[in-house]
Amino acid sequence: AQTVTQSQPEMSVQEAETVTLSCTYDTSENNYYLFWYKQPPSRQMILVIRQEAYKQQNATENRFSVNFQKAAKSFSLKISDSQLGDTAMYFCAFMKLGNNDMRFGAGTRLTVKP
């Protein structure tokens, strides 16, 4: 079974600064996908960024980027130029290739302070 660990229950950052959220996972698989989801108070989970394990290049989406370290089984999320609207719960998730069920970590609550 795959497990996803987010070791930071809460983080805070000043507006316009950069913050990094940590995620590690445990798997014996070689091919898989990793995701970061954002969950604002509205409860709807929103996909932030995804990474294929077979790609060495780190994924980037505007202000969001990842640091994917496959050997270390680490997948951290960097948010640059933090905005007040980034305040939310952030969940790291793992999905094995060919298996549709996605497994989530416990989440990190991020607060962006003005």
């Binding site: 989970m45 995804r50 998730a93 549709n100 069920d101 989530f104 970590g105």
Partner: protein, 115 residues
């Protein structure tokens, strides 16, 4: 529809009662997923459908929980003899048959409170 719709958004029920939670996925999405999210936790997998059939129901906690998707579109999660420990947000998501490229699209969930 434009997004995944879940109804009701909130449900309060008495211990021992039966409840049904509804999920209306994005049109054309063949896969549909149910997750349960307890306070302060990440979503916990319950079941997923590929078309009308349950492809994996290994996350259902016990036989009081059951889900159907009779026409391959709308799904209903059914909970019998509810217990206070069933209180949580129940999230539904849908995706194309292979979600690897786009992940899931989630609804806003149903908050179930058992009193």
């Amino acid at each position: 529809g434009a997004g995944v719709s879940q109804t009701p958004s909130n449900k309060v029920t008495e211990k021992g009662k039966y409840v049904e939670l509804r999920c209306d996925p994005i049109s054309g999405h063949t896969a549909l997923y149910w997750y349960r999210q307890s306070l302060g936790q990440g979503p916990e997998f319950l079941i997923y459908f590929q078309g009308t059939g349950a492809a994996d129901d290994s996350g259902l906690p016990n036989d009081r929980f059951f889900a159907v998707r009779p026409e391959g579109s709308v799904s209903t999660l059914k909970i019998q003899r509810t217990e206070r420990g069933d209180s949580a947000v129940y999230l539904c998501a849908s995706s194309p048959s292979d979600p690897a490229n786009y992940g899931y699209t989630f609804g806003s969930g149903t908050r179930l409170t058992v009193v």
